[in-house]
Symmetry: C2
Subunit: 407 residues, 2 copies
Amino acid sequence: MDTDPIRMGWMMGSPPPPDKLVRFADGSMSRFPQNRWANSNYRALVPTKAVARGPGPVAALPRSDRDDLDAVTFTPIGATAPMTWADALWANYTDGIVVLHKGNIVYERYFGALDADTPHIAFSVTKSFFSTIAACLAHEGLLDDKALVSHYVPELKASAFGDATVRQVLDMTTALQYSEVYTDPKAEIWSYSRAGNLMARPAGYEGPESFYEYLQSVKKLGTHGESFSYKTINTDVLGWIIQRITGLSLAENLSRRIWSRLGMEHDAYITVDTTGTEFAGGGLNTTLRDLARFGEMMRNDGQAQGQQVVPKAVVDDIRRGADPAKFTPAGYVTLPGWSYRTMWWVSHNPHGAYMARGIHGQAIYIDPKAEMVVARYASHHIAGNMGIDPQSIPAYHALAKHLLATD
Amino acid sequence: MDTDPIRMGWMMGSPPPPDKLVRFADGSMSRFPQNRWANSNYRALVPTKAVARGPGPVAALPRSDRDDLDAVTFTPIGATAPMTWADALWANYTDGIVVLHKGNIVYERYFGALDADTPHIAFSVTKSFFSTIAACLAHEGLLDDKALVSHYVPELKASAFGDATVRQVLDMTTALQYSEVYTDPKAEIWSYSRAGNLMARPAGYEGPESFYEYLQSVKKLGTHGESFSYKTINTDVLGWIIQRITGLSLAENLSRRIWSRLGMEHDAYITVDTTGTEFAGGGLNTTLRDLARFGEMMRNDGQAQGQQVVPKAVVDDIRRGADPAKFTPAGYVTLPGWSYRTMWWVSHNPHGAYMARGIHGQAIYIDPKAEMVVARYASHHIAGNMGIDPQSIPAYHALAKHLLATD
């Protein structure tokens, strides 16, 4: 089925006909294929805060388009027949993609409702922005990642996070009674989504009013630090810590440390709950080139525009990754031998590639050896890794090898 | 009482304490003094669409500050004792004000939650933007202001607007069974606000889902064309017509015709209802300098940056105003001899001053003779004219006379 949101006519007309509406209230914004429109229009659906780029000049991204990339082939995970890079974009419901090689744009495509000047939701790619900021705070001595969460946020003392360290939160080795299995309608992620106003609340709703109210109710299940378990709520705990330490909103933190220092083309924005708290776990919306600029700064050991934006030691620590033995039990069959460090996904492959990843196919893929950064926004009909990774991870690696071979 | 929103601590803290929250759901965002925070933070409370300034350079506003303006005195309407300009700003709960004289910033102040880079809601000042765009469309022959509304929007044929002309809508001489008296809790403006998602809906709400659904239900009361009667719904009818004619959203219309052509400093944004329709009657949010740039373009006969942005004939027609005899019956005691033309308020005073006006004190005041433009955002505790005008209209005129006298 052709699910291009423009050709499907979502939100076209004045007003759109009822069967072409995409709304918050009825949940259609989160359903496929309506999400192909919604993911490029989040601010028209939910409240948001601006992440200001400030008054500085735009950092030019030189362009040297490479027509040869479309024909690069790879074999998807679990498949036997090869696929081309160009075909993979369609197979992945890509909304837009930018590839930087040595800082030049070598490939840039937009589809459907996305264009170069429109922010798209980054979902969990958001996490890597705030974890990097937290790592900067730790480097500066303002945050002790060995300290307990409750040292910074006493409100969490009685929750599962009370006796977890900041490092366990950063590496998601906390032991929480909380399921993020999207196929389970009883999973706690749905309660969390209603608390944070990511989903409409049913009539008579009496649950938590905000992210932070919800976080205080999370119970412990197991022992912290033993193994990696991916749970978005860790990032909102981290966001709370960042706010407490800096006395600034998360949007202001992101603006001061990142958005105003990378020559971004556009302000970004971040969704907020009904009490104004930003969604650190997945609410950032950016243009694709600005997402790529963040990846490029990481690839350049934290430097951009002649400034050390993120300390090299922070980037090095992320790139080294964590212990893959703690990652394996989580059962990510598409990510064998990977690890999770400071809310980045680390491949431990021969190129030293690492990623920021978000549901439905959002990605920053950094390949240091190939000097390549891929920034991609997508609206895959499958939320999780099994839908997206088979035609993505090997495609990125094949592209990196092709760029190295043709250098 | 000091109602500075920063000193009052609205939305301070992570999270803010319950008694310092400003929210959409409980209506606190529209209550004084919480509105002093909310009016500079609308996008964090409701969904919005961006009005893009585009990639062009910012049009500099040269600065020549005039320290003498604070001491300018005037006598408020209905008072006997004089007041200074500086004192009037406090009396009016001003959030920010910019005065241009011959295109130079001679005065600029921000208070509370507003600063030079933060958009503030313009409320009904929004109307003058869309009416000016409609007048441009008429000038270009794309809109016939003598045609019936139902010619452009057949969905309104059975409503009060069915046999009204576009001109009657533009000048608000339609005869509608619709009250905009904010002190009356049964006034239709409240039903309209719930339809347009400007106010939270009560549990079990079964009213109209959108602005456009509401507009179709409005009944006629009297004869169109006889007298001026200020009703916001006229502007949303106009917005619907603009969308039909152009095939573009209101945000895109505003970006293409105004925001991308005046060298604006910042993107603006506009609130939307739950079906994505922009609030033409009052949803625009801009920075104060960008509001002033729009006023300055009007003062310069529609020219900005060497371009004719709005035809001179359109500006001339607005400045000439309408028949004050049709305005008088509306009973605006603070605006004697004024008229309302194309959703602008025309003073017919010796300076030929005219205004865009919004609830709680939003204003663009253009004084052609004094070559002065005042752009003001405020959060007065009284919604309507009787609260705001006594210390505003005579203050603007006194400032204009002072600038002329000291030229």
